[in-house]
């Protein structure tokens, strides 16, 4: 019988992405986004709280640096759009901040740290629709750990990480967690 996952236990945690891995992955994604969007025109990067917001900020800065023109980052809270509200304790809603005030006709890149069931992204697409009609929506994630429950895939992936359900993936980001950047995996059947 499998051990229960031990949340917040770092004893058996192993690092799968280091600080430099994460930096490289984001840089690659920045290039991919630019390539796919054919430049930075009409581009807006929206992070999904909480850590997606920090990743979006970094991604926008990288793109700005590469292109030499400012690309704006913002945040899109999906709390009120989740389909699992009944099963979760309620949390305070997080900030939604759409740079420039709207998304009509823009290319929106949604950014999240971990792509898992796909339900957060579904909620984000619903939330986004209430702000307007983007020309296109793309999805960038730092880690894709599989186990999708909806027909959703990411356009840009930092690392594909096959996991079991019982494993726990944690993302730590400097500026948000007061820790060095890392992605670790812990728990799971042994």
């Amino acid at each position: 019988m499998a051990d229960m996952p031990r949340p917040d236990s770092t004893i058996d945690a192993r690092e799968v992405l280091s600080e430099s891995d994460i930096a490289r992955a984001l840089k690659r994604i920045a290039h991919e986004v630019l390539e796919q969007s054919r430049g930075a025109d009409d581009l807006v990067i929206l992070g999904i709280p909480t850590r997606g917001v920090e990743l979006a900020r970094r991604l926008a800065a990288l793109i700005t640096e590469i292109e030499g023109r400012e690309v704006l980052a913002g945040s899109l809270d999906v709390t009120m759009y989740r389909d699992d509200l009944r099963a979760q304790p309620t949390r305070a809603a997080q900030e939604t901040q759409i740079p420039g005030g709207g998304v009509d006709g823009l290319v929106v890149v949604l950014v999240d740290d971990v792509l898992y069931s796909g339900r957060t992204v579904r909620a984000a697409l619903d939330a986004l629709a209430d702000y307007g009609r983007p020309r296109a929506v793309r999805l960038a994630v730092l880690v894709d750990r599989g186990h999708r429950e909806l027909p959703i895939r990411a356009d840009h992936v930092g690392k594909n990480l096959p996991t079991s359900h019982s494993e726990r993936v944690s993302v730590r980001l400097r500026g948000y967690d007061d820790e060095a950047d890392s992605v670790t995996i812990s728990g799971g059947a042994r």
């Binding site: 509200l85 009944r86 304790p89 309620t90 939604t96």
Partner: protein, 333 residues
């Protein structure tokens, strides 16, 4: 498919049902709800499939429509029911009325009643039967009005930042005020210091012992309070309470003129307050008796938050409904 487990109902009957963390959660979420209010499409799916009954035994267009809009913007089905005269034992009992509504399978009853404690009683009766229906107190007699206190706190914090360490003077018909009783609790949780100003006849019974126990100040002298001659100094916030018309003939004070001169926020007092407390703000739960407890100049002053309060009402009530109804698991820390 098996029937869902009945959920243990959560109620908001008194601000005392919350702790400081819960108040903070509600106020934080209200900030985001106010963002919904500014959108073109004012609709989020959060409470889709939930039914909220506004059960108002006492007329209040303002509070009822605020709750109704809050529910609708969150995609709940909201229905208004006006309770008939409740003061006679001849008619249907309050318990029967509440049970009848709960039996329809509604998720929440937002209740306004002219009698203190009515929402508590209904919540207890529903809990005894395990209906799983939440009760939100939208004003019970002269007892509490928790969402009003939450929206007051929200409005003031939006203007002044944190309420922690701020001095709030609550002025007027304190004894009959449910707004006062709820605010006293929420302001304490948020770290504000409170001075209660009223003529002796409009102080609640046992006010001295109450003030001593709960650590607030009593005064019968509004000018001294505005001059900062009480603990806490010059107030940062003036909460003017409505003087009910029916009190004027109740012998609580000799004449409206005498009340205004003693306890009204007159033009002169507004000037004194603005000079002493340049950042100071003025609240009033409405509807206002202009010229009695508040001069028109004060109601319309830049420091007046009266309209902000109304606007915040919807956002705060959305937040309250979300935290009470969205989850079957309670709230996270």
């Amino acid at each position: 498919m098996s029937a869902p487990e009945p959920r243990a109902a959560r109620h908001l009957l008194s601000v005392a049902d919350l702790d400081a963390a819960a108040v903070r959660r509600i106020l934080d979420t209200a900030v985001e709800m106010q963002e919904v209010q500014r959108r073109q499409v004012k609709k989020i799916p959060t409470l889709r499939g939930r039914t909220v009954i506004n059960l108002f035994f006492e007329d209040s267009t303002r509070t009822r429509s605020s709750f109704e809009i809050a529910g609708k913007w969150m995609s709940a089905d909201t229905i208004n029911i006006t309770g008939k005269g409740s003061s006679t034992s001849k008619g249907e009992s309050l318990r029967d009325t509440a049970l009848t509504i709960a039996a329809m399978g509604v998720d929440a009853i937002v209740m306004r009643h002219g009698a203190s404690g009515a929402a508590h009683q209904v919540a207890r009766w529903l809990d005894e039967l395990g209906t799983g229906t939440s009760v939100v107190n939208a004003g019970d007699g002269t007892h509490e009005h928790p969402t009003q206190a939450l929206l007051d706190a929200y409005t003031v914090e939006r203007r002044l930042g944190s309420l922690d360490g701020r001095h709030v003077a609550i002025v007027g018909d304190v004894t009959h005020s449910r707004v006062f009783r709820s605010n006293l609790l929420s302001l304490a949780m948020l770290g504000a210091q409170v001075t209660v100003v009223a003529p002796p006849t409009l102080m609640p019974s046992g006010a001295s012992a109450w003030a001593e126990r709960d650590g607030f100040t009593l005064s019968h002298d509004l000018d001294a309070v505005l001059a900062g001659e009480v603990a806490g100094g010059v107030p940062d916030v003036l909460m003017m309470l409505r003087v009910q018309r029916e009190r004027m003939s109740g012998g609580y004070f000799p004449t409206p003129r005498e009340y205004t001169i003693g306890y009204g926020l007159t033009r002169d007092r507004l000037a004194a307050f603005t000079a002493a407390s340049p950042h100071g703000v003025i609240c009033h739960p409405g509807p206002m008796n202009r010229g009695l407890e508040i001069a028109a100049d004060a109601a319309d002053a830049a420091s007046s938050l009266v309209l902000d309060q109304v606007s915040a009402g919807v956002a705060v009530r959305m937040s309250v409904l979300y935290h009470l109804l969205a989850s079957e698991e309670g709230a996270s820390a």
